[in-house]
C-alpha cells in the first residue's frame, strides 16, 4: 500500500498548487500520502473503536461478555485461551488475573481510560500551552514576564506531590466536597485534567521560543507594515510556521501522558482500583513478568501501540502542516520518476524544484 497509494503525490503536487487548493485540502492530501501516519491512524482507530464498544462506556453496554470488574471462575488457570493456530478466540482470549477477572475486558477498559487521559491532556495542555506561549512570545513585556513566571511556578512544583494529594482526595469516597465526589467518580478524568493543567508548561516555553524568533522575521514585519492586526499576525503568519514543532510536542506530550499515568500508578498515586488503566494493569502485574507474562504483555502491547500510532499521526500532521515543505516523500518521488536527485542526502528541496 505504501508504494502505490502515494504514487501520484510528487508529480501531482505542483498541479495541486496551481489549482489553488485550500490549505485544508493541501494538508489532507499531504497527510494521506504519509504512509506511517495512515497506518498509525488506522491502528489507533481500531483500538479506539474496540476499546469503547467492547466493554461499554458510561453505562452503555458493550458487546464483550464480561466487564472489567466482574469476577468469573478461573479457566485454564488464567492462561489466555486465544491462539493463532488453530485460530480460536476462546472464553478469555487474553487470560484472567489471579481472581478470575477477564483480562481482555480489563485491557479494553484500561485502553479507554488511557485514551481518555491522553486526549484530555493533549487538549488542555495544547490549548493552554499555545495560548500562553504565543501571548508571551508575541507581546513580550509584562505579559511575558507574568506568564513566564507563572510557568516557573508550575514547573517547580513537583507533579508527583500534586498527584499524591489528588490520589488521596480520590481515595476519599465519602467526604462531601464536590471535588472529592468528582474525583472519586471520574478518577481518570480528574487525573487527566490535573495532568493537563501541569504539563502545558514545556509546550508554552517552546511556543514562546518559536514566537520570539519568528516575530523578528521579515515576513512578520511585512505583515505588520501592511496593517495586519496582532491576532492576524499570530494566527495567520506565525502559528503556521510554528506548527511543526507544536505538533511534535503535543503528540509527544500525549504519549508521555500515558506513560506519566503508568508511572503514577507504579508509585501508587494514579488510578485507583477497582477502576483500572493500562498503566495500573502493568504496574500491578510487573512481578508477573516472568511467571504470568500475559498479564503484563497485553496491557503493555496496547500502551506501545497507542503511543506509536499517536506519534506517527503527529509525524504525518507535522509534515502536512509544514507550509514551506513542497514535497513530502523523497522516496516516493524517487520511485516515481527514478530521479537521481534522491541520491543526495538533502532532497527535500531540490527534488521538487526539478520536478
Amino acid at each position: 500500500m505504501a508504494e502505490d497509494a502515494g504514487l501520484p503525490a510528487a508529480g501531482v503536487e505542483p498541479i495541486l498548487e496551481a489549482k489553488g487548493l485550500s490549505q485544508g485540502q493541501i494538508v489532507r492530501k499531504r497527510f494521506l500520502g504519509h504512509s506511517g501516519a495512515i497506518i498509525g491512524l488506522v491502528v489507533f482507530a481500531i483500538i479506539f473503536v474496540t476499546a469503547f464498544t467492547s466493554v461499554g462506556y458510561w453505562g452503555i453496554p458493550g458487546w464483550w461478555k464480561y466487564s472489567h470488574d466482574q469476577v468469573t471462575p478461573l479457566v485454564n488457570d488464567g492462561v489466555p485461551t486465544a491462539s493463532l493456530w488453530p485460530l480460536v478466540w476462546g472464553d478469555h482470549p487474553f487470560g484472567q488475573d489471579r481472581i478470575g477477572r477477564d483480562l481482555f475486558a480489563m485491557t479494553m477498559r484500561g485502553a479507554q481510560q488511557s485514551i481518555t487521559v491522553m486526549l484530555v491532556i493533549g487538549l488542555i495542555a495544547g490549548l493552554i500551552g499555545v495560548v500562553v506561549g504565543a501571548l508571551s512570545g508575541y507581546f513580550r513585556g509584562w505579559t511575558e514576564a507574568i506568564l513566564m513566571r507563572l510557568t516557573d511556578v508550575i514547573i517547580i512544583i513537583p507533579a508527583l506531590l500534586l498527584a499524591a494529594v489528588m490520589a488521596q482526595m480520590a481515595g476519599r469516597r465519602d467526604s462531601g466536597s464536590w471535588f472529592a465526589t468528582f474525583a472519586s467518580n471520574n478518577g481518570i478524568l480528574a487525573l487527566g485534567i490535573f495532568l493537563g493543567l501541569i504539563t502545558w508548561v514545556g509546550l508554552a516555553r517552546l511556543m514562546r521560543g518559536e514566537f520570539l524568533s519568528l516575530r523578528e522575521r521579515e515576513f512578520v514585519d511585512a505583515a505588520r507594515i501592511s496593517g495586519a492586526s496582532n491576532a492576524r499576525i499570530i494566527f495567520k503568519h506565525i502559528l503556521p510556521n510554528a506548527v511543526g514543532v507544536l505538533i511534535v510536542n503535543i503528540t509527544l506530550t500525549m504519549s508521555a501522558a500515558i506513560l506519566t499515568e503508568t508511572a503514577l500508578s507504579y508509585l501508587g498515586v494514579g488510578v485507583k482500583a477497582p477502576d483500572t488503566s493500562l498503566g495500573l494493569l502493568i504496574s500491578q502485574n510487573q512481578e508477573a513478568f516472568a511467571t504470568r507474562p500475559w498479564l503484563f504483555w497485553f496491557p503493555g502491547l496496547f500502551i506501545v501501540l497507542i503511543c506509536l500510532s499517536i506519534n506517527f499521526i503527529g509525524d504525518g500532521l507535522r509534515d502536512a502542516f509544514d507550509p514551506r515543505q513542497k514535497k513530502f516523500n523523497a522516496k516516493k518521488a524517487r520511485d516515481h520518476g527514478g530521479h537521481p536527485v534522491a541520491a543526495t542526502p538533502v532532497t527535500a528541496f531540490d527534488g521538487t524544484k526539478d520536478d
Partner: protein
C-alpha cells in the same frame, strides 16, 4: 517495616501464650542437619534488606526499623534469643536469668565474667540498669495534656510490663541485678536483657558529662519514680544521657568515634556506605554465645522485590527475603535449578473481615448470613495458594494452625459452619431481605481489593447489596471504628495472637476493638487471662474466648500472611523465621560452602 523490637517481643508473647510452633519451610526447607559439619568457618555473605540502616540504637521511637534491630541483633548479645519456633532460648554463656520468686515476681540477672564490650570494658549491671531505665520509663513524669514534666528516654516498645517493677537491686560486684514486679507479668522472660544489651552505659555516661558508669548508677539510684501528677524539674544529667540515648547513636555513616558502635556480640560493624550497604566482621573477642561462622556479612538495601530476585540471580546477593507474592515465589522457585533454596512459611499477621455490631449487622442473623456468603476458600485458593500450596482458611482468631491447640479449638469454636460458602443458608437467614452492606478496606492494597471483589461477588448472590467503601491508604486507617461502614477487611499486623493483644482487640470499649464487639462473659475471661501466668490455664481461657467470639458471629479470619526467603548455593544454614527478625535469627549458623 517498623516495629522491629516490639514485634520481636510480641512474637515471643505469642510463643509464651500459645507455644506456637509456626512452621518453617513448607517447601524446599529440608533442614540440613549435617550443614554444620559440611560447612567451614570463614567466608562472606551478602544479605538484602529493604530499608537502609540509620541508627545504632534500635530502641527509640524513631530508630525502631527492622534493619536497625537486625544489625543490633548481630552485634550484641544478651541473656536469651528467640528461635524460629518462637521459643525463648537462654544463652547461659552470657549470663543467668532466673525467676527467684513468684509472688512478688522477682527476676535475678547475673552477667558472666569475661563478657565485654569491644573496647575492653566489661558488660556490667550498669548496662542492664540503663536498659531498665529506658524501657520502663520509670523516671518519666510528663503529662501530655497538661504539657508539664519531662519524658526522658523515647522508647518505642511497650513500657507497661516493666513499669510494674521497682528500682532494681544491684550487687556490689556490678555483675547482677534483681528486678521485683508489683504484679504478675506474663512476659517477664523477654522484658529485659536480650536479645541484646545494646547501649553501653559507660559511653553514654561519659558523653553526658558523667565520670563513668558508676556515676550513672549513683545518679539514678537517688531519683524517685516519676509521677505525672506531681512533675519535678528535669534532672539535667539524666536528660543529657537520655538525649544521647535518643539521638546520639543516629548515623548513616560509620561514626568517627568508635565508642558509638561498640559491640558485645558475634559481629562488629566495620563499614557503613550510606544508603547502599553495611559491612560487619567477626568480633574476635566474642566467646559468650553461639560462635559465628562467616568472617564477614554485608547488608545491601534493595526496595523492590523483583530487583531482589534479580540480584540473587546475578550473584550480587546471597540471602534475600522479599515481600512474598505469588509471582515472586514462582520466580524464586524457577531459580532452584541454579541451586537457590526457597523457603516459604507463615508470618505472624493475618487478614480478616470484621462485622460491626451495629447498623445492618446489629442483628445476629444478618451477620451470620453474611459470614456464610464469604468465600473464604475461594479467596485462599486465589490469593494464597500460589504462594503456599497447603494454605487453608484460618479458622481461629486466636490460634495459629501449626499448633496442637489450634485443631482442638477449631473443633469446638463453631468455625465448621463456615467452611464452605452457603448461599442458600444465607438466603434463608435473610428471609428475602436485601441489606445494604458498605465494606471498608485499603484500596491501595491489592490483596484487600481482590478480597473485596471476591466477597462482593459472592455476597451479592445471597441477596446483599454490597457498597464499595474502600478508601485510599492515607484514609482507611483513620476510618477504623468510626461507624462509616458495616464491615471492614484488614489485617492485624503483629499482636493479633498475643496475650496482651487479646483484650486490646476483643474487650468491650478497648482501643482496637473497632467493631464494638461486646460480650460480658468474654470480658470476664479476658480479665482472668491477663493475670494468669500458668500457660496451660492461659490456653484453656483463650480457647473459651475463641468460642465466644465465633458464637457471636464476630466476623471471619481469612488467611495468615505468607513470608518467603531464598538463598544461593554458596550459603548454608539459613532457616525461615516467622517473626520480623526474619532469617537473621540464626545468623551465626550461616556459612559459606
Amino acid at each position: 517495616m517498623r516495629f522491629g523490637r516490639i514485634s520481636k517481643a510480641v512474637g515471643v508473647a505469642a510463643a509464651a501464650a500459645l507455644a506456637l510452633s509456626a512452621c518453617a519451610g513448607n517447601s524446599g526447607g529440608t533442614t540440613p542437619t549435617t550443614a554444620a559439619a559440611a560447612s567451614k568457618s570463614g567466608g562472606s555473605a551478602t544479605v538484602v534488606e529493604v530499608n537502609a540502616f540509620n541508627t545504632f540504637n534500635p530502641n527509640t521511637a524513631d530508630g525502631n526499623t527492622d534493619i536497625n534491630s537486625k544489625i543490633s541483633y548481630a552485634t550484641h548479645s544478651g541473656f536469651f534469643y528467640i528461635d524460629n519456633k518462637l521459643n525463648v532460648v537462654r544463652n547461659e554463656k552470657f549470663g543467668k536469668m532466673e525467676k527467684v520468686s513468684d509472688s512478688p515476681l522477682t527476676v535475678k540477672y547475673t552477667i558472666n565474667d569475661g563478657v565485654k564490650w569491644s573496647d575492653g570494658t566489661p558488660v556490667t549491671s550498669a548496662d542492664l540498669l540503663l536498659q531498665w531505665a529506658a524501657f520502663s520509663g520509670y523516671y518519666n513524669d510528663a503529662d501530655a495534656d497538661a504539657k508539664t514534666g519531662t519524658s526522658y528516654f523515647s522508647y518505642a516498645g511497650d513500657p507497661t510490663g516493666i513499669a510494674l517493677s521497682d528500682f532494681p537491686e544491684l550487687s556490689d560486684d556490678g555483675k547482677s541485678m534483681t528486678v521485683k514486679y508489683s504484679k504478675p507479668f506474663s512476659d517477664w522472660e523477654i522484658a529485659l536483657g536480650g536479645p541484646g544489651i545494646d547501649i553501653p552505659a559507660h559511653v553514654l555516661a561519659k558523653k553526658a558529662g558523667l565520670a563513668d558508669a558508676k556515676a550513672f548508677v549513683d545518679l539514678v539510684k537517688g531519683m524517685p519514680r516519676g509521677d505525672s501528677a506531681a512533675p519535678q524539674p528535669a534532672n539535667t544529667q539524666l536528660q543529657a544521657m537520655a538525649e544521647m540515648w535518643n539521638t546520639g547513636f543516629d548515623s548513616k555513616t560509620l561514626p568517627a568515634d568508635p565508642n558509638l558502635y561498640l559491640s558485645n556480640g558475634p559481629y562488629i560493624v566495620k563499614g557503613v556506605n550510606q544508603d547502599q550497604s553495611l559491612t560487619m566482621v567477626k568480633n574476635k573477642d566474642y566467646t559468650w554465645g553461639p560462635e559465628a561462622k562467616l568472617d564477614e556479612i554485608t547488608v545491601r538495601y534493595i526496595g523492590s522485590a523483583p530487583a531482589q530476585v534479580q540480584a540473587l540471580k546475578n550473584g550480587e546477593a546471597d540471602i534475600i527475603a522479599p515481600q512474598a507474592s505469588a509471582d515472586t515465589v514462582e520466580q524464586l522457585k524457577a531459580l532452584e535449578s541454579q541451586g537457590v533454596t526457597v523457603e516459604v512459611g507463615n508470618q505472624l499477621s493475618y487478614d480478616h473481615i470484621d462485622l460491626n455490631f451495629s447498623g445492618v449487622f446489629a442483628e445476629k442473623n444478618v451477620r451470620e448470613a453474611f459470614m456464610k456468603s464469604v468465600p473464604r476458600k475461594d479467596i485462599v485458593d486465589k490469593i494464597v495458594k500460589k504462594l503456599d500450596p497447603e494454605a487453608k482458611p484460618l479458622d481461629s482468631q486466636l490460634f495459629v494452625p501449626d499448633q496442637a491447640l489450634y485443631a482442638d479449638s477449631v473443633k469446638a469454636n463453631g468455625s465448621s459452619a463456615y467452611q464452605e460458602v452457603d448461599i442458600e443458608g444465607a438466603k434463608s437467614l435473610l428471609a428475602g431481605a436485601t441489606p445494604e452492606v458498605r465494606i471498608m478496606y485499603n484500596k491501595d492494597n491489592p490483596n484487600r481489593a481482590d478480597m473485596f471483589a471476591l466477597i462482593s461477588e459472592s455476597a451479592t448472590k445471597a441477596g446483599f447489596k454490597i457498597v464499595d467503601g474502600g478508601l485510599g491508604k492515607s484514609d482507611w486507617g483513620k476510618a477504623l471504628g468510626d461507624g462509616s461502614y458495616d464491615a471492614t477487611i484488614f489485617g492485624w499486623i503483629n499482636s493479633g495472637v498475643g496475650v496482651s493483644g487479646v483484650p486490646q482487640i476483643f474487650k468491650t470499649g478497648n482501643d482496637s476493638n473497632f467493631n464494638q464487639f461486646s460480650d460480658p462473659e468474654a470480658d470476664k475471661l479476658m480479665d482472668e487471662l491477663i493475670v494468669t501466668t500458668d500457660k496451660g490455664k492461659q490456653d484453656e481461657l483463650i480457647k473459651q474466648i475463641d468460642q465466644k467470639i465465633w458464637a457471636s458471629s464476630y466476623g471471619l479470619p481469612i488467611f495468615q500472611a505468607v513470608g518467603v526467603d531464598a538463598y544461593s548455593d554458596r550459603i548454608t544454614g539459613v532457616k525461615y523465621m516467622p517473626n520480623q527478625t526474619g532469617v537473621w535469627w540464626n545468623f551465626w549458623e550461616w556459612a559459606q560452602k
